[in-house]
Symmetry: C2
Subunit: 253 residues, 2 copies
């Protein structure tokens, strides 16, 4: 009996932002594998086995999924947002690369999902009007000086910058340091958005200039979006929140 | 009567990759506005008015949508992929910013879609395992030297690079120049993918090393994904296409 692994992006959390392709892949699963809150998010018949694990156990989780597939199970590995963007896809292929040769013959598919950066951008207006980059602020898998270097190069390039994993209990000081670092490279007037749980009932969004932005406004579930010189806010009448907009045009320096 | 503008990302083309949120927003539309092939992609009752236009008329199209909304119509402005990533969202807010004050009071919403970079990455394996950037290679809205500069900075940062709009009839030479530029900054062994129409029947994917990559393999519908030093291919038994994988870990230099 031939099993499979399907690595599925559930989108940001609102079920209206999950694709039919993800639903189809979930419907085929005999087993659900992932970080607890994501596994809980999936509705499935009682016959489907749920294997929830703690965060930061990606590689063990990936190996477990591959082992079950070798036994003929159809395993859905779930991530929030897109599984390819700081989700489980890379962990599964890392396990494959260093695992038994037989794993390479398994049916492994990745089903894309709406990553937070896209949902947040839509909620704000059009902050990604030009070129942009996506950076994880966590230094669990890369050295912190490299994160700072990437931020400086991204600012120099004029990219809008989306920061994932801006802050956690184990890393309370990094976002403040990152913002300080960016203030040295970018105008203080550049708009910054702190967007949390976008599309879900507990959604919150806070806008500020880079000069005023305060790292305390973020937690691990926040996406921080930092504009570029071509970004600004469009005010609205009647007290509505302004739109965060980045011009498509960039003039020659 | 109060109209609205909804700017909707249709996803890469496979209807299974379009969100229910996009379907709901489309169902409310009295008018569809967009580049011809995207407008054609939407199924709608005969009563819905289709306003197809040529490519490169984004701003006129945006103004037309806003004018109709002022007359009480519910206008869906459609883009392929995500409307916020080189799609119509930024053009609509540009029109708002320079248009009549009354446009700012309109109900304008953006509905995110699966951008090509996510669909292509899922198709290839896990090429976006780390930080990445998204760059349009078109110089219609920014100077070409800036594009080259951004490529060099992105390579220096160690970003995986997704190139949108790599080539057109009016710009046949830029992708070749961009690849040449990147060969001076990155190892020739870095994997490069040319992915066209992913998720659609005419899908084609070609993998090569940066040293071998040939700009002639791309057209305007191709997304070119360029790895970083942490990217490589995982070969598979039985002649299957290798997986394109970027390690999550980056060691200190």
């Amino acid at each position: 009996m031939s099993g499979s692994v399907s690595i599925i992006g559930l989108g940001p959390g609102n079920v209206l932002q999950r694709t039919p392709q993800a639903d189809q892949a979930l419907a085929r699963a005999t087993d659900l594998v992932g970080y607890g809150p994501y596994v809980q998010r999936v509705e499935a018949p009682a016959s489907v086995v749920r294997h929830s694990s703690d965060n930061r156990e990606e590689l063990d989780r990936a190996r477990h999924a591959l082992e079950m597939a070798m036994q003929g199970r159809h395993v859905a590995v779930v991530s929030g947002g897109d599984a390819g963007v700081f989700g489980m896809a890379s962990a599964v292929f890392e396990a494959v690369e260093h695992g038994p040769q037989a794993w390479r013959a398994l049916e492994i598919t990745v089903v894309p999902g709406l990553s937070a950066v896209l949902a947040v951008a839509a909620r704000l207006g059009a902050p990604l009007g030009g070129d942009f980059c996506v950076i994880s602020l966590s230094d669990n898998l890369k050295p912190w000086p490299l994160v700072l270097r990437r931020l400086a190069l991204a600012a120099e390039a004029g990219f809008v910058i989306a920061l994932y994993n801006p802050r956690s209990k184990a890393r309370p000081h990094q976002l403040g340091e990152a913002l300080e670092h960016l203030r040295a490279c970018l105008p203080g007037s550049v708009p910054v958005a702190f967007a949390r749980a976008v599309g879900r009932p507990e959604e919150s969004v806070r806008l500020a200039s880079l000069a005023e932005a305060d790292a305390a406004w973020a937690d691990m579930s926040t996406l921080v979006l930092i504009g570029c010189a071509a970004s600004h806010l469009i005010p609205r009448p009647g007290g509505g929140a302004p739109w965060f907009y980045t011009s498509r045009k960039v003039e020659a320096a």
